[in-house]
Amino acid sequence: MKRRKERIDRGIKARSEDIFALSSYREMLYLLVPRAIPVVGLLGAAPFLSPYWQEVFISTAVYALLAISWDMLISAGLVSLGQSLFYGIGSYIAGALNYYWGWSPLFTLPVATIGGGILCTIMLLPVLRLRGIYFAMVTLVLPLMLMRLVEATRILGGTEGLTGLTPFPNPLMSLYVIQIALLIALFGFRRIINSDYGLIVRGISDNDRSVMSAGINIYWYKTQVLFLGASVGSFTGAFGTHVDMFAGMPGFALDYAIMPVAAAVVGGMGTFAGPMIGAFILVPLSEGLRALGALRIVFYGLFLVIFVVGLPEGLFSYMQRKYHQFERWVHVE
């Protein structure tokens, strides 16, 4: 006798999906609690962390933002290995404005966010027509090229980089800045992707010919998505620059390109919350494993492999499914 797992939406999910049907606190809480967890968890935990863990938290949030930015690109079918491009550009823009003209972070952050978004979009515009691995290759190569360009031409401080930049007034404040940015990106992107606009974006990644035949200029949409992703990435770079009080070639480092992909895979692609959770698992884990010395990478890699094999849909997709649906075994003839 064959068995098959049947999944059925919980009644409360169907009822609470239509906002007009909300009639009880239970239904409201059903919707509210999962959304409140990241808000309360992030902002509430900040003051209780030791300085060391505050630093870990900042770097976690940086990777989480990069992962969310990566997830935005993948929603439109743009496979990126170049979050380091966005990070590096944002970092150099903010760094240069601060170093040469003494702008405060209050101004460098927004300028680097928008400016970095525009600059990265223009750089990738010629290859926007490439798909899948071809686009990924270009995004991977660009930051490495720029890194060598800085080294060879000695512009922007060359190999030394720009040092002595203005830091945030205190670590707690920088923690709040990045966490609020993270929450805005998380909820903002989720809202965008669930709108009709987001439906077109997801449609492009699913079946671009069908979207083209619907009279929609898919390259214009891809450009917009690229700008959104690149802006968030550039913001991250600008933020990191002020935290480290340094802008330099490490901004283009491969770490910033690989970690977001790993986080998205562990957490579940296309959900934004997934990549964020992924980053919040992987970065602290990597810190916690420091005690193991050289074996750290081995255990880290092992964890990644087990996760990807055991839960290929990603942690968040799994949790979401358990939350919204109940399962039962049914016999199939």
């Binding site: 009709d196 606009y197 439906l199 077109i200 449609g203 010919r209 069908s210 035949s213 619907a214 009279g215």
Partner: protein, 252 residues
Amino acid sequence: MSDTTPLLKVSNVSKSFGGVAAVYAVSFKLNEGELLGIIGPNGSGKTTLVNLITGFVKPDKGKIEYSGKNITGWAPYKIVSLGIARTFQMVRPFYQLPAFKNLIVPLYSPRVKKLAGGKYGDRDAVALDLLEEVGFERDAHVSYKVAGSLPQGYLKRLELAKNMALRPDLVILDELFSGLSLAEVASIVPIIEKLRFQGKTIIMIEHRLKELFRIADRVMVLNYGEKIAEGSGKAVMESESVKKAYLGSETA
């Protein structure tokens, strides 16, 4: 525009892929309100011809004019905005979305916005109406079902609804009937007749000759990328070259 300007004029269009001519020096005209059938054996260049007209493939040679305007080599989305909409032979809906949400994509296009006078209106409601028009039973809530769970007959109708959502003047249907049962075809034919009644110009690529000949004004036959006959369904099937193309020559 004078009466003699055809809606669509394809002159001497050729396209080859890696040395093989998929379409070779094909010319034809299509007047407003006409229904043209395109038939031919597999691989005779029918779908390539559609791709050429709709801009998915650029011709090597030749010219395509739509109501007097040269649209050769235009991008697909621009051609749609003029009022040419196509369906795909292989339906590939967004499987994880409910059927009516599939229509949001065409309903979001600039053309629909322009025709609606600059505002979109309630897209979900329009989508549900359109699906009812192509035979999604409203009482049975078929429109709310995930597209991946629908049988082929509904998916083909969904494809037709996506096309109608764009409110095109020229409708191109690429093998809409393929893979459907006789009963399903019989239920779609009235929808096409209704489109004609609304004054739409239609091109149908079809293998179901019987159903096609009943509704087509004119039929064009392609073989190895070349036009070998044109005329009424009956006349075309009696032509020697068409018999050869379909049945093979006796000496072969």
